[in-house]
Subunit: 274 residues, 2 copies
């Protein structure tokens, strides 16, 4: 069966990737300038934080998409969805890790993804505060700061307790319902974990800094660039379960990284969920 | 009772601090140059990693101390103790977070502390890979990249579940004996935690990025700069317990940050230990 993404020619994919990288530059410039000049922080209905930088960065991105790709779909964390049902759908989380941004920690990131007929076509994760950017596109490979990425699977014995995995904090397993048993089972199997609580963990998995990572019940935009980035780097990406609901309300869980660890983590999580 | 550190005049403290910052420059230059040119990684007897960068950075520091302060004591992670029993004792962890350094994650740090008659006189934590340096000295304040630091205590209600704390990974609570009950009790009380697994968490507590953090059963050099940095920034630092033994074998646990959270964390840990 042909992958539906083959319908988009290589040269078109290259052009779309170039556009995504231009948009990432624009977003990075906007966020950096607001970080420098100061910003307001407020709480959203779900108690998560939003700053004037999140909103302005997404606005700048939307203007860019509307100018260059007016008929394509667009879903953003802060400003909603437009052109619903279009074959191409851009997804943006302008600042993933707003709580980190608000405290001036550089591990936040801008996530840009483009899907074609519900399949991930390209993705960019840009850590403007660290000068680190990863990108990947279907059939075109994955890169961090333009170095090609290659996720190697574990050597026998390396997939156990010594493996370095990324995790969300326990707080993320307590909503929308209590899944703290999943957290406990995972940390017991992989006690050598890190918690950055942003897409920096995704970048690190793609780049070899972590062996695997996961997200738990998080909106689509948090994962918008991850699947294509990991798969183009040679890793595995597995969806665990997604909640009911649609659009902004739907939540996703995923495990990604070295194939042996993704398989083991998936098994642990499925056993825990019963 | 007069603090014993008053025996060191303000001008002498300033001179020692200036020297410590010079040494930090020297270490940063050495580490950065080796990061660039490549390094070998090997396992120590305790299964932790060491690289040629750890050893060379500490060697350069030792040469500097021997030239400028030949009669002062010196304890380093990689190359042992000299001038034991001297009033002034320099302590260095040339690369805290060697496992991060080996994977090219910039959250590792160089820790330099100076103790006078067993009291912390000054400390520097330098994150060369991130361009972030914190320092503090007795009576002279604490700074990150030369901005004065001020740890404010929590507003009522802020010391609970929403507080952001730093933690070692579960792996650190499994040695030298199983204290996973401490980890479980702490994350239940503070589910919104981060795990950087290096002294970057200490820098963040001093600089306002985290509300509190802790270390569990770790050698003295991992904490060599932390107490003075936190206390000069206005936070609290509490030792929990230290293991028996002496020198390189002795291990320390500590909680530090906003006073209300340090008090609560200490209570949780002591209740768990029984």
């Amino acid at each position: 069966m042909t992958d539906v993404r083959e319908e988009v020619s290589v040269s078109e994919r290259r052009e779309l990737l170039a556009a995504a990288l231009d948009f990432a530059d624009l977003c990075a410039k906007t966020t950096a300038s607001i970080m420098k000049s100061g910003f307001d922080v407020s709480k959203k209905d779900d108690a998560s934080l939003v700053t004037t930088a999140d909103v302005e960065t997404e606005r700048v991105f939307r203007v860019g998409i509307q100018e260059r790709f007016p008929s394509m779909g667009l879903l953003g964390e802060e400003l909603g969805e437009s052109n619903e049902g279009a074959d191409f759908r851009w997804i943006i989380d302008p600042i993933d890790g707003t709580a980190e941004f608000a405290r001036h920690l550089p591990v936040y990131g801008c996530i840009i993804g483009l899907y074609y007929k519900d399949e991930p076509l390209l993705g960019v994760i840009d850590h403007q505060g660290m000068g680190v950017r990863s990108h990947g596109a279907y059939g075109l490979g994955a890169f961090t700061n333009n170095t090609p990425l290659r996720i190697e699977d574990c050597n026998p014995g390396e997939s156990g307790a010594a493996a370095r995995i990324g995790l969300p904090s326990l707080a993320s397993f307590l909503r929308p319902s209590d899944a703290s048993a999943v957290f406990r089972a995972v940390v017991e199997a992989y006690p050598n974990f890190r918690v950055y609580h942003t897409c920096y963990a995704h970048t690190l998995v793609a780049s070899g800094g972590l062996d695997a990572s996961m997200e738990w019940q998080t909106p689509l935009w948090d994962l918008a660039a991850t699947q294509i980035l990991i798969e183009e780097a040679g890793g595995h990406y597995g969806s665990i379960q997604s909640s009911e609901g649609s659009g902004k309300k739907r939540l996703f869980s995923a495990v990604f990284g070295k194939p042996a660890i993704v398989a083991r983590l998936t098994e642990i999580i499925e056993n825990t969920l019963g």
